[in-house]
Symmetry: C2
Subunit: 234 residues, 2 copies
């Protein structure tokens, strides 16, 4: 009994519960949820699921950062989306009833909870607000994906790099030394903007020389946000 209470509290106070579609769940539903979830710790570099795998549920990101990516024929890893704590992972494939279209890997050590599909479908059918939230979350992803698709075509690599740096700053914030909190390798950064690693490094170098950013070891500090924005715009 004591045990049950503790688990319930855990889900109830979890950041995912506060930020994701799960915020629509009632007290009773959260208790049900707490009983059916499984918690995993995933080390940096490890996969949560791989392309083609059948996941049969969603993952709640409690802590850490992950990337959704797809490996190309020539060995390059295109990053489609970064996920951080509070977000759900694998909603799309679950709803579409399909194996994962992308691979999910940890970029920083993660803690995730797995919620089986049956549970989600129950919530979806019995809780209108939850289904609407879930729907809106997928819609948000769709909008972002479409806009990124457009940016990929209409903007140069330089513009996309500026844009991505600003995004990373907005979404993940900065450390005390003002460098970006997300620690991406140059290769991963290249994977987000869709370019060759060398091109990415070269442009970072250029931005550094222009005073737009400062390279602190492998970390990146944004120095001139206004100029970066102007660059990204047009």
């Amino acid at each position: 009994m004591q045990q049950t209470t503790i688990v319930m509290n855990k889900c109830d106070q979890c950041i995912v519960r506060q930020l994701s579609s799960l915020k629509a769940l009632s007290k009773e539903e959260v208790i049900k949820l707490a009983g059916s979830k499984t918690t995993y710790k995933i080390k940096k570099g490890e996969a949560i699921f791989e392309e083609g795998e059948v996941t049969n549920g969603v993952f709640c990101v409690k802590d850490g950062v992950g990337k959704l990516s797809k490996l190309s024929a020539n060995g390059k890893d295109q990053i489609v989306k970064l996920v951080k704590s509070g977000e759900l992972l694998g909603q799309r494939s679950m709803i579409s009833n399909e194996p994962a279209n992308l691979t999910a890997k940890a970029i920083a050590d993660m803690e995730v909870c797995f919620i089986p599909k049956s549970e989600i479908i129950n919530f979806f059918n019995s809780n209108n607000q939850f289904s609407l939230n879930l729907m809106q979350s997928v819609c948000e992803d769709l909008k972002e994906s479409e806009n990124e698709k457009i940016a990929l075509v209409q903007k140069t690599v330089k513009q996309r790099l500026a844009e991505t740096l600003l995004h990373l700053h907005d979404e993940f914030g900065e450390d005390k030394d003002q460098t970006l909190k997300v620690q991406l390798t140059r290769e991963e950064l290249a994977g987000i903007i869709g370019t060759a690693t060398e091109s990415c490094i070269r442009l970072l170098s250029d931005f550094n020389k222009l005073g737009l950013i400062e390279l602190v070891g492998k970390k990146i500090k944004l120095k001139d946000v206004r100029a970066l924005k102007k660059l990204a715009e047009n």
Copy 2:
């Protein structure tokens, strides 16, 4: 009364009702739908809605072909998606409660019905199968968008052209003379694959010389589907 029956039948037998999320609606719901819809005829080149507009509902494509696109700063029109009869338009913005992110224009004369948001939300809240269908449809769009995003980065313009020609063939079929049924200008085709119009024309010319396709005036006939597939793959 006679009038009401006719309108109901119209919705009931409509292709959109058969192919879209609306297939989950009950007889009673279809009657409600028929009463609240408005039908529009849109001529080739005209807009159904423009970026930034608040639509407050969805459009059912009864007939014709449309494009969802976004104009870039340099005047180029990036096409995000083509829609054909049986599909819904504007679901995303309606659910997200946002003005349209893209402009919808007719590529071939269209007939569309407008369904007000209130009606859709009612169905969404009272009909689980409908909400699931709608959800799956958005998920399908998301998957496609992500895959296209990846293709945009990982494939060359030549590969994307081959891929797009095959897609157009699959999705819209061919006329009696075996040319593609969708009549896109070279500029529009370029807008889909995300390249300059001249590059698109040049590559079509190359494909023609290689015997992969045949240019019949402005129309395109696929001659060697196998070779096109191989080209698109890698």
